[in-house]
């Protein structure tokens, strides 16, 4: 089922609509947001300077730091009294980024999440347990209102208290789960430890987001729970969840292009890249009232696919996020993404799904260690099986990453489990500030 006919708009009509909305948002930010007015003036760009979508690269980027520098309300395009909701990022490093929603923005948000959950397969008869935390983080509330809009029965369980999550699933006959992939994995693990078979709990759908995850982890989750697992994408700066989501074909995430105009750029040079080429996703919000952003650099790496999807939607699909430019590790000059490591570990019998990457510096050399849990049922008691396993993983990592990490098998359950975003990387190298 398709929630909104805008998802099937012919390409020409979509582009006309996008241009119309782009022109309007540029004019509006020039009027309402001093930050943009100054920036466009400095560049000599007139508020009426957008003539076609190909003028997009002439507009300035907005960076996460611009939001931080204008903390808390500096980029808002409406007076605070028009805002009806505030959310904020966790701000683990430096200031948090604050976002505001007008009443209309909240309506848009619910509609966009409704599209995402419907294309993931949610029906009004579903009982959906939301295991995202509620609060300043957009995950919980975002999915909540979108699911209500669709008519599903929402169980706002929030994150944490795993035994209670399992009890709710059984008592309320939950049919769909919303959360981070790593937390869903952990719930399944806890279920099995308590003698419950997760595949018999009756869940048919899993909707995941808020952290990059691999195809291997999807397979792992689908097997563990016996449900269809789809990916959805968003970030608080843009609106929260609801920017894009997978349809049931699980082949890329349909972007709600009538609200978010996507581009892919080379993260180093800022040059716009052609469709199909992997680079950093940049989004211009086309309809946001409270906090419109021009060419926001998401720092997420993906590629765009404009070919029609057999599901009937005409909107562009972004590939599953490969990694974040923030997450990229430079090990002895070689770029390494945690997602590459995950993909290999998920594809290796005998280990995972929990792993951790530890980076340290010995003298002048970076050292990377991959810790992964030995699967309980793989252990034969034979020493050489473990040695062979370690050697194989090391070899596969070496050939993919072009750097040779240490591999360390660790005991099952020895790596930290999390209820939110997983902490996969521990970088102990001294930073410039130290």
């Amino acid at each position: 089922m398709i929630w909104d006919r805008m998802e099937t708009l012919p390409r020409d009509d979509m582009e006309r609509l996008q241009l119309d909305r782009l022109q309007s948002v540029v004019r509006r930010v020039c009027r309402k947001v001093p930050f943009y007015r100054n920036r466009l003036q400095e560049m000599g760009f007139k508020p009426t300077g957008v003539k076609s979508l190909s003028d997009l690269p002439k507009l300035p980027f907005t960076e996460k730091d611009d939001l931080r520098d204008n903390y808390p309300y500096g980029l808002f395009a409406v007076p605070l009294e028009k805002m009806v909701r505030i959310h904020a990022s966790s701000g683990t490093t430096g200031r948090p980024t604050v976002v505001g929603y007008t009443r209309k923005d909240l309506g848009t948000w619910s509609e966009l999440v409704a599209r995402v959950v419907v294309q993931a397969g949610v029906k009004p008869r579903d009982v959906v347990q939301i295991c995202f935390s509620y609060g300043l983080f957009t995950g919980g509330f975002g999915l909540h209102y979108g699911l209500e809009r669709v008519g599903a029965t929402v169980v706002p369980a929030s994150a944490g208290n795993t035994p209670r999550q399992l009890r709710l699933m059984q008592d309320f006959h939950t049919t769909a789960l919303v959360g981070t992939p790593t937390y869903a994995l952990y719930i399944a693990e806890m279920a099995r430890e308590n003698g419950l078979d997760p595949t018999r709990l009756g869940l048919r759908l899993g909707l995941f987001g808020s952290e990059p995850w691999s195809e291997g982890l999807r397979q792992e989750l689908q097997t563990a729970w016996g449900f269809a697992a789809t990916d959805n994408y968003g970030m608080s700066e843009l609106i929260g969840p609801g920017v894009s989501g997978e349809c049931r074909l699980q082949d890329g995430l349909h972007i709600s292009e009538d609200h978010f105009l996507p581009e892919i750029i080379d993260p180093e040079t800022g040059e716009t890249l052609p469709p199909g080429v992997q680079g950093e996703l940049v989004i211009t919000t086309l309809t946001k009232e409270g906090l419109p952003l021009l060419r926001y650099r998401t720092r997420d790496l993906t590629a765009l696919d404009y070919t029609p999807c057999p599901c009937g939607r005409t909107t562009v699909r972004m590939r599953r996020v490969f990694g974040r430019t923030d997450d990229m590790l430079i090990i002895r000059g070689v770029n390494v993404f945690p997602s590459q490591v995950e993909e290999i570990l998920m594809d290796t019998a005998g280990v995972g799904p929990h792993y951790q990457i530890i980076v340290d510096r010995k003298g002048y050399l970076d050292e990377m260690e991959v810790r992964v849990e030995l699967a309980a049922d793989y252990f034969t008691g034979a020493f050489r099986d473990l040695e062979t396993l370690e050697r194989n993983i090391k070899e596969r990592l070496r050939s993919t990453l072009n750097t040779t990490p240490k591999v360390k098998l660790v005991e099952y359950r020895s790596l930290e489990r999390t209820e939110g975003k997983a902490k996969r990387v521990i970088d102990r190298r001294p930073t410039a500030d130290d």
């Binding site: 008691g381 360390k408 098998l409 660790v410 005991e411």
Partner: protein, 143 residues
């Protein structure tokens, strides 16, 4: 029935071995024989205990990664060259020994050695033909 050995996967960090020993003691198990094979990262603890089936479950329930392996308990004459004789016999018949370790108590006047080989039946045959006793499950787990 073969002797049942319990293997436990352990990270090489302090306290893990003690944790296993403590858990088994608290549950009333007696460790009859043990050996550890390790690298700098991980180790495998091999144990012979009374009631191995229950020990396996207790360890597993406590979150340890365990497996059960069948090994041979061979009576080795307690004199110089006793072990060498047994090993030669197996070697000469092409039976590969993956590892071995000794039992704490003796069986009669003989030392008891635990052997891990692929070809269990064949090894027993060869040893038996040469007058060397292989102890069975019940006796070993009760010693």
């Amino acid at each position: 029935m073969w002797v049942k050995q319990i293997s436990v996967f352990l990270e090489n960090k302090s306290g893990r071995l003690a944790a296993v020993a403590r858990l088994l003691a608290d549950n009333g198990f007696n460790i009859r024989a043990l050996s550890i094979a390790d690298t700098s990262d991980f180790g495998i603890l091999r144990l012979i205990v009374n009631d191995p089936a229950r020990a396996y479950q207790v360890l597993k329930d406590a979150g340890f990664t365990v497996s059960e392996t069948e090994v041979l308990a061979v009576e080795v004459p307690d004199r110089p060259g006793g072990l060498a004789g047994v090993l030669d016999l197996l070697h000469d018949t092409g039976i590969n020994i993956e590892y071995l370790y000794a039992f704490v108590s003796k069986s009669g006047g003989n030392a008891l050695v635990l052997l891990k080989v692929e070809a269990l039946e064949r090894a027993v045959e060869v040893l038996g033909a040469n007058g060397i006793q292989v102890q069975d499950y019940h006796i070993v787990h009760q010693i």
